[in-house]
Symmetry: C2
Subunit: 552 residues, 2 copies
């Protein structure tokens, strides 16, 4: 019997499900309803077309309804909103937006891929025509029209996540004075606050005014544009506002159909992507997933997972029994000349969920330091100190950040440990890496720690130290002159330590540090072997400075 599959939403998850369904069955009836005029468009490219990097708007239209139809023999109905689901009768109600005509369509299997909608806070004035969100092609067109026709001189981006950051960069590229307002004390929420510090600096270096720990409370239209009132009491004059606070799952239809919904509003599905109702499946940004590392329910709106889920739902409709294996949340964002990426759990996530962890930092070159153009990669690794299992990683730098996080994402997916990282054989030639890659280095540091060969302390624990602690800066004096040092530390360069042992008390704890932790480790081992009580500050002065500047 011919199967009739109805898909609600023709982007990412929906489009992938439709294509996969057709590949699995040539005779299925496959109908895709899409509220907008566009299917399978390059959502993630929108800010880059606004900023001008992607010149051709058509480049964003990865598939058109016509091309999808031709290739996959789909019945694609755009500008058609599914406004009701009758799970009992296996029927959806559809409204043609142009004509207003409503009709119903039966299904054997229904796949919901409604996506997510931008969060718009209920504050006065937020419905102004100069306040924008960015989720789809029409949103993008509206912003471009505003910029091209009215030539705004200033803009305020509310929210420092992926889209907020990309929009701030796009606006700066268009020559618009840009302010970013973020409620938290950091941008890039998947990362921990100290890792966001270089990003704050990079945003400011490129002219973005950053207003952290503040929130938009009121929008007023004035003769000059908009007047924004902030929670801090400050007010801002601007010509336009981009709201990039985040998204929430579009669950209207799902609720209507009586599907189980998670605490954060995501449609609940099992590993086959089946909802709580028979023959109804859900995929993409609208569903609740399980976090691969912590096992906790999560909302992670990313394109890769959406595509995979679409494929899996189609597989299961045709009894191929494939399962979705949770989401790690691997993500990356270009922040002007830097990139920032993360995978797995962040420290703050582990703290919030009460999961035991340890962390280390390394700051290493993206490729051999003696080959031109090497830049520093700041890498933070969180892991289980009992068995060394890698729980998460974050990296910031000008180059090679995507590579390191991809490798660590793979390690996490494979359930690998910090001991495995020591042994990774990665590509090495001077233009590409180092014989001891940043990832190997992170493995060394973390493994030594797990094995009890290396006791570390963290920059944020320093204020707790007392008179029983001596801070030893093992860098060279010139480094201290240029970069400064931690108050109260004594300077004994690592290469002179053996000649200055008389300056170090054996009845106190020594905390050693260098620039990034490597010389500190050499000093640590030497002093430890000589019978001192000693700890090495992981990530050295570089991490210390990041921690000290949290929220700045």
């Amino acid at each position: 019997m011919t199967k009739k599959i109805v898909i609600v939403g023709g982007v990412a998850g929906g489009a992938s499900a439709a294509a996969r369904a057709r590949r699995l069955s040539e005779d299925a009836d496959i109908i895709v309803f899409e509220r907008d005029s566009f299917i399978s468009f390059a959502n993630c490219g929108l800010p880059y077309h606004i900023g001008g990097e992607i010149e051709d708007r058509d480049a964003l239209l990865v598939q058109t309804p016509e091309s999808m139809k031709a290739r996959f023999n789909l019945d694609i109905r755009i500008q058609s909103e599914v406004i009701g689901v009758d799970a009992e009768r296996q029927e959806v109600t559809v409204r043609e937006l142009a004509s207003g005509r409503e009709y119903s369509e039966r299904y054997d299997d229904l796949i919901l891929s409604p996506g997510a909608v931008p969060i718009v806070p209920p504050i006065p004035g937020v419905d102004s025509e100069s306040v924008f969100t960015l989720r789809n092609i029409p949103d993008m067109d509206r912003i471009i029209r505003k910029i091209n026709i009215e030539a705004p001189r200033s803009a305020v981006v509310v929210g420092g996540g992926y889209i907020g950051i990309e929009m701030a960069e796009a606006l700066i590229h268009r020559g618009i004075e840009t302010t970013m307002v973020e409620l938290a004390n950091q941008i890039m929420p998947p990362m921990d606050p100290e890792m966001a510090v270089p990003l704050h600096q990079e945003m400011r270096r490129n002219g973005v005014r950053l207003q952290l720990s503040d929130a938009l409370e009121k929008v007023e239209e004035t003769a000059e544009g908009l007047e924004l009132s902030m929670r801090s009491g400050r007010s801002l004059q601007t010509d336009m506002v981009i709201l990039a606070i985040g998204v929430r799952p579009e669950n209207t239809l799902a609720t209507m159909a009586g599907l189980a919904i998670g605490e954060k509003g995501g449609i609940q599905v099992d590993r086959t992507m089946k909802t709580s109702q028979p023959n109804i499946w859900a995929v993409g940004d609208a569903v609740e997933v399980r976090d691969f590392v912590t096992g906790a329910p999560a909302q992670i709106p990313l394109a890769g997972p959406a595509n995979r889920q679409g494929r899996i739902a189609a597989d299961n409709i045709f009894d191929l029994h494939s399962e979705y294996k949770d989401t790690q949340g691997t993500g990356i964002c270009k922040v002007f000349e830097l990139s920032a990426a993360s995978t797995g759990a962040s420290e703050k996530m582990l703290v919030a969920q009460g999961i035991d962890y340890e962390k280390i930092y390394v700051h290493g070159a993206d490729h051999a330091g003696y080959y031109p153009g090497a830049t520093q990669v700041h890498l933070k690794l969180v892991f289980d100190p009992k068995n060394g299992r890698v729980l998460g990683a974050q990296a910031v730098g000008a180059k090679g950040v995507d590579k390191r996080i991809d490798v660590l994402a793979t390690a996490i997916r494979g359930g690998m440990t910090v001991f495995d990282l020591e042994e990774f054989e990665l590509c090495y030639a001077p233009p590409f890496g180092s014989a001891k890659d940043v990832i190997n280095q992170a493995g060394f540091v973390a493994s030594n720690l797990c094995r009890g060969e290396h006791a570390v302390c963290h920059a944020e624990d320093l204020p707790e130290f007392s008179d029983d602690v001596v801070l030893v800066d093992v860098r060279n004096p010139t480094e201290i002159t240029v970069l400064g040092s931690i108050d109260g530390s004594v300077n004994i360069p690592v290469n002179s330590l053996r000649d200055n042992l008389d300056r170090l008390p054996k009845d106190k704890t020594l905390v050693v540090y260098c620039a990034v932790g490597l010389r500190g480790y050499v000093a640590y081992r030497m002093l430890k072997n000589l019978g001192y009580q000693v700890k090495n500050m992981t990530g050295g002065y570089t991490t210390y400075q990041m921690v000290k500047r949290i929220g700045q």
Copy 2:
């Protein structure tokens, strides 16, 4: 009791062992003997200093004897050659090269890290002063002196491995007409011949004359420079020759000490890096390792493994019981604007060892095609068709090659399968990747194959086909006009297939192909579901062209 550790060789493995030994014990006596004047230098950077990318020669001297001494309290004796080992008495004989003085030194533990020596074939005239090898700083200095003083107009590089390729590029950068002679029908021996084809093109595009399947048989000094006679009967006039045929393990001392030596000349060690004699350890290019994938004995002279082995030998001397976990041979080479990388087993290696495998190709963009600057990554994956285990991978492209091979190296290390590759969550934003990364794509293709959802055929099998086969080119006619097509194929674009089914016989095997394999797969599924006998050519016309041009 104070341990006395003697280390022969102060580069890579030896230097790592010395540093690790000191970190483990502050009171051990650690003596490092080095025949040359340099320790721990950047071996891999030598061609780049010759080519001029690395301007400062001192940048290659990662550590000096003085700096190593100061940091690690080592007794480093340069220009000191260990000329004898008495394993019974635990004693080495040392010759000071400057004075000729010989003396002996007792050891508790001896670590051999003598490295490898360039292979110089026993052909007439090879001892000419205009024939060079490149392994260390003095070799490099000699080549630079030749170039700077004599301004040679032409050079011949013999051997197309890493060093040969890097030297050819360096010579071209120095404005020297360069010819490369290679015995095999391909350069970059760790890769399969079809994957080397883009590298041949890149070498020629940059002015290197490539003479494959040929060998140097005689060198004669003439008034104009050198006259080289080739096996092919050709002769070449040139000003200098770089021999980059490969290296063999330096096993003189080991043989003298009666250590077990493998078939290829490598010192045999167990997983703790212990040789066949008590208290003698060996590390680095001189030892025989086990191939991680095939389990076969192998000689893999790479810096990363050497460093790890040095560390492990030191660990075991201090009873830390660490084990070396075999070598994958992950490697990368810059070839002008391209990079070429590989990890694990190549197809030819699997064939040679009679290991069952299957292979697929994907040719995908390094990042989202709609974001500027995307280039193609050619990826070949070999895997076990029974369980999907990834056995090896090779990639060539302008960007993102190191990243893909690093991820796949990690997957191999973790014993992961092509089914895992489907689910990898890798960094995605338009400047960095794609929602379906090349690696995911490779996972899709290989997994579909393992699951029996996708029957592929290989380009090299085409000539075996007969009248029972119909070749169907599913690309658009414009692509065929520009790039050509396979003789005898019929063209029916994938989007028109359903309207042209009458042109396809059900009693013959259809072999479909597109540019890279994706549309071919869509066509395959459609035709398969319609009851046709069909196969898709993996990697499409792109792979076909690479295979057709093997040896060119």
